[in-house]
Each structure stands twice: as C-alpha cells, then as structure tokens.
C-alpha cells in the first residue's frame, strides 16, 4: 500500500512539475509525415507555417529528442465567443437611401457604405476567409442565396470534426456572414455581397487551450492556402486563455496572424472583444498582434459601446484600430434580429476593406491596413476606445486636398494654471441648441513616452466649455482635441 502511495505521489509530482501542453517546434530535418514515426504521442494539431505540433502533456523533464527544435508552453485556456443579446427592432434605426428601395441600415451608412454600393463596389474578385464557431442555418437563409447560387463558397471545412460540414454547433458564423455579405431583395446587411468565401469552423468550445489554438491556426493556414486575401475572425481568445500581460502579440495565434500579414500578404481582421464591462476589459488575441486590424464596436452616435474591449496592448500599442457599429441587424435562419457585439463590427469592416480591395486590386495587405485607418473619421486623432474611428467610404472618392475641414477652433484657457479649461471658440448657443447639439468632442493627453495618459469624449455645455481639466500634472505632454473635422494640438512643457 505504501509503495503504491509512493508511486502515485511520484507520478503526481511528475505530472504537476514536468508535463505540459506544448507547441513542439520540429527540426527542419523532420517532415510532418515522419513525425508519426518518431513521436509516441499523437499531436492534436499541426502548424505548417511554424512547423510545430500541438502535443498534450509533453514531458519536459527528459532531454528533448533530436527532432525537437524548441518547445513553447504557456498557461491556460479558452476562447470566448462573443455573446449576443437580442433586442426589439427599432424603426428609427432603419435608413432607406437607395432609389431601388433597398434598405441599408445604420450599420452600413455609418461607414458611408451606400457610397460603395452606388459606385458599384461590392467586394468582387476578393476571397475572404471566415473563421468562426459554426454556420448553422447558412445554406437555407435567404440572405445568402445570392452567394450559394453563384457558387461563391469556394470551400468549407470543419476543423473540429475534420469534415466539410460547417453548419453545426452555432449560428454565430451565420450572423457574422450576414454582416459581411447578407443581402436579399429588400435589404442589404453587409458590403462584400459579391466576394468569394472560404468558411472554416475553428472553435472547439469545450476543449483545452492547446486544442483551440491548434484549430484556429490550422483554419487560418487553410484559408490562406486556399487563396484568401482577407480573413475575418470573430473569435476572441481572452481571459481564460491568457493573462493580460500576454496581450502583447506574443501568443501563437497572434504570431500566426502576424505571419499571414507579413509573409502571405493577407490581412486578418479580428473583433476586439466584448470584455470592457467585465474583469478582463482589454483586447484579446489575436487582436493584440501589431498588424491585425482590430475592430471595436460603437453606438449610432460614434461613441464606443460600453462592452467593446479597449486598448492599449500590454506593450502599449494602439488598439483597437477602427470601430464600426456594434448593435446591428443580423440574419439567423431567415429571421432578422437586432444583436450586439464586436463580432459583428468586424465583418462590417471586412466588407468595407473588400470594397477597397476591389477598387485597388494592386494594394497589398499593408496598404489596406494603412488606408482603412487613414479613411477613418477621427484620423489622425486616435484613442484606445475608438482607434482611428469609423472608416468612411467618401475618402476613396474625393480629392483630399479639396476638403475644407476648418470649421471650429478650440482653445485652452490659461495654461499656467493647474486647472485648465477646454473651450470651443466661437461656440454658438443657437447651433448648440440645434443641429450641432449631438456633436462629440474627443480629447486626450499624450505623455512624453507617446502613450495616452487619459482620454475623454464630451459634449460642450451652453457656453462651449468642455470642462476643466488638470493637464499640467502630466507635463511635458501633448493635448489633442478633435471633433472629427479638425484637430488642435497643444504642447505642455
């Protein structure tokens, strides 16, 4: 009995101390096929880009065999799928802007999406990979018949069940597709209605961290190998998978997304996450990767939705990159519902980028990444809640030099004082009472390290004041104020 206890204890200590779920990076001398002959444990996933195998309970106590280059173990688990909530449909949010009486909702008009449509851009000849948790109801939904009948689903694969059936488990992917390319005779929900699609089911909800990572990376590699030019993912790997300190783009999925951008010329768009109201609060992976276009969610007035995760990343880079409407109409099996989540902001922007790609086929992923941010309404202003703001289609159809942006001036009151007032000069109470009443003013303080210290969004009072602020304690710093039309900058020394 004692011997058994000792053996059990020894095994337990071994288990606790040395065995871990690992990405095992293989020697270049070993091929994927040869791995089966040399490795006793069967890998649960494989990444061709990293030439790495995902192996559970890999023993790190023993000297590593010749075919192991290095191992990458890191902690915990889980992918959080965007939770959604249904709301009653509000008529006031419906906007009709087309002579052919197609309805475009605010989710498109906020990005001036109708401009893309009237100019004839709809993501034609652009291949988009969609990574999600499941596409239940996709093939029967009237919103997608134009895609199915024209054979624009190039391929589909379920990386969980290892077959070609993706319509299982969840309707989340169907809702995402609605915001990307949903259209019927009456209404249009997304912009990329003429794109081609690769559907990948990449989420295994009840599995370990390693399995989930492996599925996502495999799916990304698959859609890229099939010719995707854009990849949209509304899967957020956050609080139970990583620590906040790991949100610096170093996780394997973030590295894979970065690799897609740098080596494969593929732009990955990922939603920011819905964690701002919870303990996690910040943007999850792979949204933390430097060249993943991370999309947050905003309300109809442009203000960040309270649930949309915020930046910066742990290494203090700006995130999210842009925002789009986060309370949207989606289609779930022929039913139109009103739901919320950054999951839906991301495909809206993906449709926008698909139109950009159609307009400029020569643009690389880097060009698309830059231009969509430049085209956003706050650019070059930014903050960690809205990024550069909401992309605007008119940017791609107007001569930028002709634009007259000088409409307001701002001044800071008596910079020598501890408390400083921001005031909108020439503020008219008449204007304030009428059309300009809802105008938002964005302002922030940037510290001398180039990182924001604080940021606000406010509406002025009746005399044009945006309030008294204690800027001086941050000196030397830069204060920026923007109303989406003009930016004023003050330096405090």
């Amino acid at each position: 009995m004692r011997c058994l206890l000792l053996i059990f204890s020894f095994w337990l200590v071994q288990l606790v101390t040395f065995a871990q779920d690992c990405w095992v990076f293989l020697s270049p001398k070993l091929s994927k096929e040869e791995l089966k002959t040399v490795c006793v444990q069967s890998p649960i996933g494989y990444s061709a880009w990293f030439h790495a195998a995902a192996i559970e309970q890999w023993d790190l106590s023993q000297p590593q065999p010749w075919w192991v280059d290095s191992t990458w173990c890191y902690t915990p688990d889980i992918i959080a799928i965007e939770s959604t909530a249904s709301f009653p449909i509000k008529d006031s949010l419906v906007e009709t802007t087309d002579s052919s009486s197609t309805i475009y909702y605010a989710q498109l008009t906020m990005m001036q999406g109708e401009r893309w449509i009237t100019e004839g851009f709809s993501g034609r000849n652009v291949v988009i990979g969609v990574l999600d948790a499941g596409f239940v109801g996709f093939s029967n939904d009237s919103m997608f018949q134009h895609i199915i009948q024209e054979g624009r689903i190039l391929d589909q694969y379920d990386f969980v069940e290892k077959d070609k059936r993706v319509e299982r488990q969840s309707t989340h992917g169907t809702e995402v597709m609605a915001c990307l390319a949903g259209k019927d005779r009456v209404q249009q929900l997304g912009l990329a209605v003429n794109s081609q699609f690769l559907l990948a089911r990449a989420e295994q909800a009840t599995s370990s961290r390693l399995v989930r990572e492996a599925r996502w990376v495999e799916a990304l590699e698959w859609v890229v190998s099939k010719g995707a030019q854009l990849v949209t993912s509304s899967l957020i790997y956050s609080n139970q998978l990583y620590r906040r300190t790991q949100m610096n783009g170093s996780s394997l999925i973030s590295s894979a997304a970065e690799r897609a951008f740098l080596e494969k010329n593929v732009l990955v768009l990922n939603s920011a996450g819905n964690a701002d109201q919870g303990p996690w609060e910040i943007i999850g992976a792979p949204g933390d990767a430097p060249h993943v276009l991370t999309v947050g969610a905003c309300e109809s007035n442009g203000l960040k939705c309270d649930f949309s995760s915020v930046g910066p990343t742990h290494d203090k880079r700006m995130k999210p990159n842009v925002v789009a409407k986060g309370v949207v109409f989606v289609s779930t099996g022929n039913n139109l519902s009103y739901e919320q989540g950054t999951s839906f902001s991301c495909p809206l922007v993906t449709g926008f980028v698909a139109c950009m790609k159609e307009q400029h086929p020569e643009w690389t992923a880097a060009d698309l990444f830059d231009q969509v941010q430049i085209a956003s309404d706050l650019y070059p202003y930014y903050d960690y809640a809205h990024g550069y703001g909401i992309p605007q289609a008119s940017y791609f159809f107007t001569n930028q030099e002709e634009e007259d942006s000088t409409q307001y001036e701002y001044f800071l009151d008596d910079v020598s004082e501890q408390l400083t007032e921001i005031r909108v000069a020439h503020w008219s109470p008449i204007l304030a009472d009428s059309s300009q009443n809802d105008e938002l003013f964005y302002f922030h303080i940037e510290g001398h390290h180039g990182v924001l210290q604080e940021y606000w969004v406010a509406q002025p009072d009746e005399v044009g004041s945006l309030g008294m602020y204690e800027f001086k304690k941050y000196a030397p710093c830069i204060v920026r104020v923007s109303n989406k039309k003009q930016i004023s900058i003050w330096k405090y020394d």
Binding site: V16, P76, I78, R243, P312, Y455
Partner: protein, 274 residues
C-alpha cells in the same frame, strides 16, 4: 456711544460673514456650472495598464500566496457519553496557502498557520472528565500549529486565477497549548462571594501533542468549503484520568468554511506615469 460702536463692529463682522457665505455659494455654483458639460467617456490609461500588472503579477509568479480564515465544526461520530456539544464547539484557523503554478489543471501547494480548537464537553455524571460532578461547563481548548501540503485539481480552465477547485491534502500539527477550563457556579450559601468559578488545567497529560489530519476543500475563488478528518487520536492514556484508560474520541470530522481575507498586493509607484 460705546454700545453703538460695538454694534457697528458686530454689523461689520456680520457683513464679512455674509460676504464669505455669498463667496462660498458663488464658488460652489460656479464650479458646478463649469462641470455642466456632458462627459460621455473618460478613461485613465495607467489604471488599465496597472490592472495588467496586477493580474499578471498574480498569475505569472511561480506561486500564489493567500491567507485564509477557516471556521469549522461538525461533531459527528462521537461517544454517546463523552462528546463535544454541537453548536458550542468550533475551530478557528488562519492559514497561508501557497500554490505552485496554479494555472495548471493539477497543482501542488502547502499551507501553514495557526488554529484554535474549542471542544465544549457535554456534561453528565458519567463522563470520565467530570469527576462525578456536573459542572456548569467544561471546555477543552487547544492552540496548534498546522503544516500541510495539498494537491489542487482545477475544475475550471481559467489560467492563473483561483477558479473552481478541489484540494486534497494532509496536515500535521503540533498542539503547543492544551487547557481544560472548568466553570462552576458555587453554592449561593457559600461565603465565596462569586457567581462563577473558572478553573484552568494546563499541561494535560492525556492529550496527544502531535496529530495529523486529512483535508478536502472544494471552492471557487476566495471561498471554499472544507471537510477535515483527524486521522490520529486526540487523547492518549494517562494514569491520572479515566483509570489509566484512554478517553473516548471526540468527533474526528469537521465541516467548515474558508474565506480569504487578505491578499498580498504588489505596490505600484508612479501610477500616473506609464
């Protein structure tokens, strides 16, 4: 004249006070009007980054140290005559638990602390510690230093946070102080002049100084329920008690609740500077 000058001074003071009040009111309403703008969003970035560090500090360190307070007692499985009274017996324990690599599904840890046991012995003439007398109360009090180790099975995959867990462990402890406190109400007709007489007996020869116990905890985050099973005998035979025979055992089982009341936090300087 004297009176009117005094009146004038009083009036001046009143006026000054009134002016001050007006000034305060102006300042008060003035400051309110300057805050009349509508702040829709305000965020301090250092606090976001600070939370990164706190969260990371809690989980990226090789161990996680927390202090817990435990309250327990469930007197079951006792002798019919000599037993600890339910409701009046309890254990209070404060211990620090260190969990190594808590983020793993199976982790190990150790705990150390101090505990106080109080067994209120039920009174009857037959019970062996009574000496044939029914006392007002008899309380066996122990101070002990426990030291133990445990294996933690995490039921939720939530990284470095405590999450939902089951701990299986064993503790050894040293009873460094044992006392039997006997309380009596003296005969009112006696001339002692007291309503209660407490007698404390220390250095009890019939108590085991060393002991060990098995423990199972099941909890979530900062609180848990635990079950303790004392594996050795509380009493040993003594020539002075019970005719040299070992006393019957008190309850070996204890059921209780654990609550974390202190967390060691890393101090952070220059909160506003990032």
């Amino acid at each position: 004249m004297h009176c009117s000058r005094k009146q004038q001074e009083t009036d001046i003071h009143m006026e000054i006070r009134l002016n001050r009040m007006v000034l305060i009111l102006v300042l008060l309403f003035g400051s309110q009007s300057s805050d009349a703008q509508n702040i829709l969003l305000h965020r301090r970035v250092p606090s976001v980054l600070q939370r990164n560090e706190e969260d990371g500090g809690d989980t990226s360190t090789p161990f996680n140290s927390r202090t817990f307070c435990m309250l327990s007692y469930l007197p079951i499985g006792q002798d019919a005559i000599f037993y600890a009274a339910p409701g009046a017996s309890l254990q209070l324990q404060s211990e620090n638990r260190v969990v190594f690599k808590q983020q793993r599904p199976v982790a190990i840890g150790y705990n150390s602390g101090i505990k106080w046991n109080m067994f209120s012995i039920a009174q009857n003439v037959q019970q062996p510690l009574s000496g044939g007398v029914v006392h007002r109360s008899q309380t066996l009090q122990q101070f002990a230093v426990p030291l133990g180790c445990f294996v933690r099975f995490k039921l939720s995959n939530n990284g470095g946070r405590i999450g939902t867990f089951i701990d299986l462990g064993c503790n050894g402890f040293w009873n460094f102080s044992n006392a039997l406190i006997v309380s009596d109400a003296p005969d009112p007709s006696s001339n002692l002049g007291a309503r209660r007489i407490n007698s404390t007996y220390n250095r009890l020869t019939y108590i085991n100084k060393w002991g060990y116990e098995m423990e199972m905890r099941m909890g979530k985050g900062m609180w848990s329920l635990h079950v303790l099973y004392r594996a050795n005998n509380l009493f040993k035979s003594s020539p002075f008690v019970n005719g040299g025979a070992r006393l019957p055992e008190l309850s070996r089982w204890q059921l209780g609740v654990n609550l974390n009341f202190w967390k060691f936090k890393k101090s952070k300087k220059d909160e506003d500077e990032i």
